[in-house]
Symmetry: D2
Subunit: 162 residues, 4 copies
């Protein structure tokens, strides 16, 4: 319990939290910035990001498709983002700063990626869903689609949360 | 069966294959080049690569540690490299070009990464082991250690091979 | 191409295939029979099975909940069943026997199970979805719910298909 | 800190703990009992169990091999056993009862099994290794070999520990 905890976050504070989440996942995680990840929605239940193809992200030189490591990185990031948004919703009285502080204690336990189809396309859409947010562990599922709407990859991950 | 297939690869041809593997995994996969992956050994049973920390590879801004996506990318690449080296050994009569041609048909089916400890360090060592090389599927395990010898992550992956 | 392959399976032949799938997954796989797995639907896009709790299936003695190995076994079976149903749909001219013959060559490559919540309940519902059916590899996602509709576990698996 | 915590467990108390671990994993987990799992060693760094083939454990009727669900169950159990043995070692002043109490709060977060080769054999050997035991999460790797020494399956799992 902290000062201000008796009433839920104001719309302004929520907007600040949303902006912090976008800033963190797009800019402060320098590898995400290098990838060019753009966060499209941080609303709980609708977590979305986009990625534009560029030469540095190519894996299989013979085919010009997205590197599996890029796919893994993006889907891992989206799972963490989905949990952060869910944590914000679970703690409606916390300030943006208090919610963001929890991020510094979050870590990926493990990640499984299923590479279903070649990562071909000019743009990709990544989404994430929280399957369970416990007091210590959060579990998520993620999807990557290309600009034709083809399912390129799915993933599941577990994270420590605090 | 192809011309020249009756005798095993010469030392020169093997050296050419080794150089092709290094060149492919370091340079032609542009994402690996961006990461700065350096292949240290392509000998079957001793697959090793190194990675130097640099600002673009940081994940958790608060901690300055290696991004999980970088770890995933490096370990996925090492598993594929281990299988390529094993394929070369299984087809001792194939030319370097014939072995490399098989790489164009290889793909990661799925990858699991266990993030055991924070990716802290100036240099990292990645290794891979082939658990099974079948006619259609190859399975590998991988490890990432930091420069203090601490086990940072392990991974398992399955690949289509041809 | 085989005699009779020019026209799609008759309703009788499809019913025979459906019955073969149920018989195989309920009876011929003796471990499934021991578990008491009951196949509720083999229609592509709607793969469902049920499992009734019984003392032999308990894992954690202190809590009386479903053993993780039971959950893994059931979800692995459901993924294979979903692929068999999809294979039947992909080969509409094959007889039931021809489709079932493909099952003898199917194998699980790997399975990941996320144990989200305790497996508490008297009955459980397992479902499976095919994410991709290729010529050599099939990928699926599975879910287990208890009789309160709570999501107990999710899984992803890859299989060799022929 | 509890009475008696100032000196390490006696040889008798350690023998009691070892016996409790064997009893728990062989008898109290009724599904393990049904499988016929026999614990061969609970010494940290040398966790081993055996399993004898029997008709109820067969998966693929056409081939008479061990069911994947049996493999998953056994390897999940071995990972948990390895962590319990490690927890006992980490808390050398705890009584057997105190160590066993921690088991009631342990749970599998997720499990990945790689099915490398057919589970053919009359006897199987399962082993487990702790990769990391943290305050909240434990990570393990497991292996299953048949009586010819062939590696049948490998697995990785994460558990909550307390």
């Amino acid at each position: 319990m902290t000062p201000g905890s008796l009433k839920p976050r104001s719309a302004e504070e929520q907007a600040l939290l949303d902006a912090e989440l976008v800033e963190t996942f797009e800019q402060r995680i320098s590898f995400n910035q290098m990838l060019g990840l753009k966060i499209a929605s941080v609303r709980p239940g609708d977590i979305r990001a986009t990625l534009a193809m560029k030469p540095e992200l190519v894996g299989h030189f013979a085919h010009g498709r997205l590197h599996g490591g890029v796919i893994s990185a993006v889907l891992d990031a989206l799972g963490a983002l989905a949990l952060m948004a869910a944590i914000g919703e679970r703690h409606p009285h916390d300030s943006a700063a208090q919610v963001m502080h929890r991020f510094t204690r979050m870590g990926t336990i493990d990640l499984r990626v299923d590479f279903l189809r070649p990562g071909l396309g000019r743009h990709f859409l990544a989404t994430a869903e929280v399957l369970r947010l416990g007091g210590r562990i959060g579990s998520t599922q993620m999807r990557l689609l290309n600009d034709a709407g083809t399912l390129v990859a799915t993933a599941a991950a577990a994270y420590t949360v605090a």
